[in-house]
């Protein structure tokens, strides 16, 4: 089922997506309509064009594919399902996501994966093919964020500043020859070993498959693992009064 989104505002477009009987939907000519598929549970939606902010907010199991770029707040507070973006995303991608996966072929803007958390069988995964803006994984409490830095120079800083500030759970993997970023004190940084790489192998494979990237172009640089120093970064901060 194809929905031509030309001249439809976000409310009408969303209404048509939600009430569409077909489980497989293509939205053509998307031009900035916001909140697409918010809270959606069980549809496979391909979006051609550029969806607006808050694509797949509170996503509850639906699968979204964007043939183009996405804007800000993609997958905000997402609980389950998947978002695949063939271009880049704007800021605050995957804010507080608790489950499901986001694969981005290009870059992510500022504040991606802030406050990502995992719980029980919920384990959020975000793979960024290119670079990420500042504040990546700030307050991260669970799940995994992978930044591949494809297309960047060997000594280029691909995660910018303040990566992992206030991190108290989860893991960030960064693929780089050398790490040029400065990390905050809450973050422990080390080079990935075999066991670390084994943990993310399926996500890398999926990335390669989704975007037709040869696996050997990824394996040619080492990965770095960022984990929090402690589960309770702010424990010593207070005295009873």
């Amino acid at each position: 089922m194809v929905i031509d989104s030309k001249n439809l505002d976000f409310q009408e477009l969303n209404r048509r997506i939600k009430t569409c009987e077909s489980l497989d939907i293509t939205v053509s000519g998307c031009l900035g309509q916001r909140f697409l598929a918010a809270g959606l549970k069980d549809k496979n939606i391909t979006i051609e064009g550029t969806p607006g902010n808050a694509l797949g907010a509170y996503l509850h199991g639906a699968n979204l594919t964007v043939i183009g770029n996405a804007q800000d707040a993609t997958g905000d507070t997402m609980n389950d399902g998947s978002i695949v973006v063939y271009g880049s995303t704007g800021d605050t991608c995957g804010y507080a996501m608790r489950g499901g996966s986001i694969y981005i072929r290009g870059n992510a803007g500022y504040r991606a994966g802030i406050h990502m958390k995992a719980y029980h069988d919920k384990f959020p995964v975000m793979v960024i093919g290119g670079k990420a803006g500042s504040f990546l994984g700030e307050y991260q409490a669970g799940g995994v964020i992978i930044v591949l830095g494809l297309g960047s120079a060997e000594n280029e800083n691909i995660v910018s500043n303040f990566c992992g500030t206030g991190m108290h759970g989860g893991t960030i993997y960064i693929r780089a020859k050398t790490l040029n970023a400065k990390f905050p004190p809450q973050v422990r940084v080390r080079e990935a070993e075999k066991e670390d790489l084994a943990k993310i192998n399926t996500y890398i494979d999926k990335f390669c498959m989704l975007f037709s990237v040869p696996r050997n172009t990824i394996d040619d640089r080492p990965f770095w693992v960022l984990t929090p120093n402690t589960d309770n970064p702010y424990k010593q901060l207070y005295v009873q009064n």
Binding site: A38, Y58, K117, Y119, H168, D231, Y234, K235, N241
Partner: protein, 501 residues
């Protein structure tokens, strides 16, 4: 042990002639103040642990106990008060930020107490609420600015979603984690019974309480704990928490030690990890961004639920509220600087924000001037202590009020202000099973119902006295208020005349 310079604040006075050494006090005190001395055959106390919560006093069968403020003081000093000196000691001992709980206890003006309510005499006769019907029902949400009709001339009645309240009082946000399961159950059941709402706070909604969903406001805060599709669908309304009166501008932090069992499951985070709510929502840096969160929630719940935006009362609150009213929000909740909290840095609590009375009056005035008062309903909170405060708040422009500290007092809270320790002897601000079970939800619920019922009677008496039979006619009716002993500027912000004028 190093000297910490801190002398106990209270004295435990035990009348040994009355004490029968039954050891109730010992068993009841989670702070471990009391113990039995086998050699002396006497109950003894370590007053340095006492928080003056009255649990032992209330349960002592022979009334042998009382807690008094220790007469031991520093040399009197109007500037360097005892608190000021001891806080320096605490920080010099620890190098840490001072942490307190419940509302600002400092001596700031309480404007409610300087406002008087009108009553009818001779003309415009008062109404007897025992005989005449009095309407206290309110609807919170966007109201249409004009009447529209369909092709047949019939009035269109499809309003935006509204919260229907039998009386203009809601229970304010307190998370499961900051207060106990039994406290939440008491609030939820009382809200159902009284035709009003309680609020989950930012800690998610326990599965057991989904059945009270029609009387639940679910909160979405910066940490998004426990927020998912089912949670949003469960609530009667969704509240976006931007700020809280007790700690405007800063985030929340529930330590990992309190994230156990059900609290962990309800927040949907693993046991033992800190629950950190960042100070801002990092996806909201503007009114435009706020509008985006408002509409993403509306889209996700198909425009069936009103969206509340809760903010702390701060200096530019009128302009902020004007922005929120234009963000698509249905209701604005304003929390004054005396609002309670389960834990807040002392300095922030005692020094940041403004009184709800002034904030409310200026917001109502501003929204009227801009012609957008109908776009939103206003809920005022931050230390509403009794029915007179409710009536004054409504006359200053509120559609309804939030109460929380008052509700906890009804449950047995004694305002000892040590919620942050998690050792509440009254079973309210604790997760320890042996303490939680001290609060019986059947009794708690009943006491809350009693409180609201009593206030409802009093509100009707006030209304009847003013010759008003519908709470809607009281809303923003500042002619019903007069100030006493306040300066011209204060009265002008409150929008009320001085008594005698």
């Amino acid at each position: 042990m190093a000297i910490d310079f801190l002398y106990p604040e209270f004295e435990v006075v035990r009348d040994q002639s009355r004490c029968i050494a039954c050891r109730v006090c010992e068993r009841q005190c989670a702070n471990e103040v009391h113990s039995y001395d086998e050699d002396l055959k006497l109950m003894v106390s370590d007053e340095s642990r006492c928080v003056n919560c009255h649990r032992c006093v209330s349960l002592c069968p022979t009334r042998a106990l009382k807690i008094i403020k220790s007469p031991h003081t520093f040399r009197e000093n109007a500037n360097w008060t005892q608190d000021a000196i001891q806080e320096v000691y605490r920080q010099a001992n620890s190098g840490a930020v001072l942490l307190s709980s419940m509302g600002n206890p400092k001596q700031f003006p309480v404007y409610w107490d300087k406002i008087l309510i009108n009553a009818s005499q001779v003309t415009n006769p008062s109404i007897d609420p025992l005989r005449e019907p009095m309407e206290t029902r309110v609807f919170l949400g966007k109201k249409p600015t004009n009447i529209t009709r369909d092709q047949n001339g019939k009035i269109k009645t499809d309003l935006p979603p509204q919260l229907e309240l039998e009386l203009p009082i809601l229970f304010s946000a307190m998370s499961y984690g900051s207060i106990s399961y039994n406290a939440h159950e008491s609030l939820a059941r009382a809200a159902v019974e009284m035709g009003t709402y309680y609020n989950t706070g930012e800690g998610g909604l326990h599965k057991d309480f989904y059945k009270y969903g029609a009387h639940t406001i679910v909160q979405v805060a910066s940490g998004r704990f426990g927020v998912h599709k089912d949670y949003l669908e469960q609530g009667a309304a969704i509240e976006i928490k931007m700020g809280q009166g007790a700690k405007p501008g800063i985030g929340g932090h529930l330590p990992g030690t309190k994230i156990t069992g059900d609290v962990s499951a309800t927040r949907m985070i693993p046991e033992g990890t800190d629950a950190i709510s960042p100070a801002p929502h990092h996806d909201i840096y503007s009114i435009e961004d706020l509008r985006q969160l408002v509409y993403s929630l509306k889209e996700a719940t198909e425009y069936k639920k009103p969206i509340i935006v809760k903010v702390a009362a701060v200096h530019n609150i009128a302009a902020i509220a004007s922005g929120i009213a234009r963000s698509g929000a249905d209701i604005i909740a304003i929390d004054g600087f005396r609002g309670g909290t389960g834990a807040a840095p002392t300095r922030i609590r005692d020094n940041v924000g403004i009184p709800i009375e002034l904030a409310l009056a200026s917001v109502d005035q501003r929204l009227r001037e801009e012609g957008i008062r109908n776009e939103v309903s206003l809920i005022a909170g931050g230390s509403i202590r009794n029915s007179a405060d409710v009536v004054k708040a409504i006359a200053l422009g509120a559609d309804a009020v939030y109460i929380a500290t008052g509700a906890l007092l009804a449950l047995g809270c004694h305002l000892c202000r040590t919620c942050q320790t998690g050792k509440c002897n009254w079973g309210i601000a604790t997760q320890r099973p042996d303490l939680v079970k001290r609060l019986n939800p059947d009794i708690g619920c009943r006491r809350l119902i009693n409180l609201l019922t009593a206030w409802e009677h009093e509100i009707k008496e006030f209304m009847g006295g003013m010759g008003i039979n519908s709470i809607e006619s009281l809303k923003g009716n500042r002619l019903m208020l007069r100030g006493v002993g306040k300066k011209k500027k204060e009265l002008s912000i409150l929008g009320i005349a001085h008594a005698g004028e």
